[in-house]
Symmetry: C2
Subunit: 323 residues, 2 copies
């Protein structure tokens, strides 16, 4: 068998629910908050099981757990609005994924045609009437008919492999742009634009680092959890927020590390590294340091300082032009 | 009204189908190829309307146009496999989105439990029996029960705002890692790791460039189409491939630019810039050059050369470590 065809995990969903969820998480999605008005009550929940369904008639769908407390209210409301979140709305996504009572207090919004909250800062709004409800195992599928849509400037927030992420242009597209537009460029390092070179190098380094982390047998969630617990114990809630992890994936990872004897959970709900966990965390630090040092081998102090100056200046100038 | 709440476009789906599709495109998705075996025939099509539906029972869904030639075969096959594509599988995605007869010839694959092709290099496989077919306007929703799943290392291919893209770590998560792991870092340019600084600067520059492009009133698709047509006429098929654009979005953009008198289409199906289109294309080039020049103002030749050397070296070393 082709070595590229060796899975990290495989099996029947019935055998290991966590492993099945991790396989589902390979499909990247945007993040939405679905809202509605139900009498005097505002409903809002974070959902990534959204999909476009039909253009004519204009239909979209999302799914909700059967046991969700908000299900009945969404059904009787008879409408909903889909708010497609922007890359800078992680805190908003976390708030609407929680069971907090007042989710709308800290969030500027405007009422849509059916009274559903349209969240400011979202990159898309779809205002829908509830068209149909379809049974779907432990979830229900809510199909909406879109009455009004709006699109705003900005980049989408992503959820992929258990964590929040952002998009970047496809590296091959940038390479292809080289033939067409002067903003992107040749492979020759001495020529071409800095934007292209930065993009290319940043991509390569991230990939190499990912390879390094995988070689250590670490997922992103594990890597970040070891890092955050090194200096201090944290609750699951804190770790999700600090490490930009999705709720379910963070819970699965914490449970797995406890089973492996790397973590313990105290009565206050805080997670601590065990002696074995601490040893592993320190080994990870040493490996990361060695990875960086190896890449920078034989680079002169002067060149490194110049690179830092130029990158710093570019970051500063683009920060201004963004604002 | 908050200026951030001014939409680029808004309205009823009935008024402008293209604008509605662009609003739907704000929700980012992964890309899948759905395959099946139907008698002696292999079926395969590129689909981004996939979603997870239920964990217990394990259900997933995707939708197919009513008028699709493959619909009946998928229904009678009674099973399908979902192949979640990796970031480097754009050509594969384009092939399975086309109407080419032999899509499987150029693609290594293995037959799954029901005979559906499992494509090599995908980052996820979900082998399903067809559980239910639900009416959904101009599409049908195919719900599958997952019998076997597999997960592979690698990053997902994305489709967002009409084009292919890839993921990158959330910049705030990297900043947050600073407190936890030494790989990521302080805001002080003179300290912290190069990986973090690169990531940060590359992000900022991309965002600034996006703002610049938006200020020009250009979408990514428009920007790339002007670029590719500057030197040579191309067919729609060529432009989709060269510019990493999705089929429908590229068609919509081309139709829009023709209506605005920027392009013409000849009898051979090639698109050409009109004199007005050529003038606009040249203005875009001048603006991009000015954007770059302004950012690099007062940077010494020596510093710029050092930066290029270091970035080039890092790209080269990480290329080796990836391979």
């Amino acid at each position: 068998m082709n070595p590229l065809m060796t899975p990290l995990e495989a099996g029947s969903p019935a055998d290991d629910g966590r492993a099945f969820r991790r396989s589902l998480g390979q499909f990247a999605t945007g993040v939405t908050v679905i809202t509605a008005r139900h009498g005097e009550q505002w409903l809002g929940m974070t959902v990534n099981s959204f999909a476009a369904l039909s253009l004519d008639p204009p239909l979209v769908l999302w799914s909700i757990r059967r046991e969700s407390g908000a299900l009945q209210a969404f059904q009787t409301a008879g409408h909903f609005a889909v708010n497609v979140l922007a890359a800078n709305q992680v805190a908003l996504s976390n708030r609407f994924a929680s069971s907090k009572a007042d989710k709308f207090g800290a969030t500027p919004w405007t009422a849509g045609v059916h009274g559903a909250p349209l969240l400011h800062g979202a990159i898309g709004h779809l205002e829908c009437t509830l068209h149909e409800v379809v049974e779907g195992g432990d979830h229900l599928l809510l199909v909406g008919r879109v009455e009004r849509h709006a699109r705003f400037g900005g980049e989408p927030l992503l959820f992929t492999q258990g964590r929040y992420a952002v998009t970047q242009e496809h590296p091959e597209a940038l390479q292809a742009d080289a033939g067409a537009a002067p903003v992107a460029v040749a492979h020759d390092v001495s020529r071409g634009t800095i934007l292209r070179l930065l993009h290319h190098t940043s991509n390569r380094m991230s990939q190499a680092f990912l390879g390094h982390r995988l070689a250590e047998g670490l997922s992103v969630a594990q890597f970040r959890i070891y890092g955050w617990l090194r200096d201090q114990a944290h609750t699951a809630e804190d770790l999700k927020r600090l490490a930009y992890l999705g709720g379910r994936d963070a819970d699965d990872t914490l449970a797995g590390l406890c089973e492996q004897g790397q973590l313990t959970r105290d009565d206050a709900g805080c997670y601590h590294l065990t002696p074995a966990g601490r040893e592993r965390a320190q080994a990870i630090v040493r490996h990361v340091e060695a990875f960086e040092a190896e890449l920078l081998q034989e680079v002169s102090e002067a060149d490194l300082a110049a690179t830092r100056r130029v990158l710093g200046l570019l970051a500063e100038r683009t920060a201004r032009s963004v604002a």
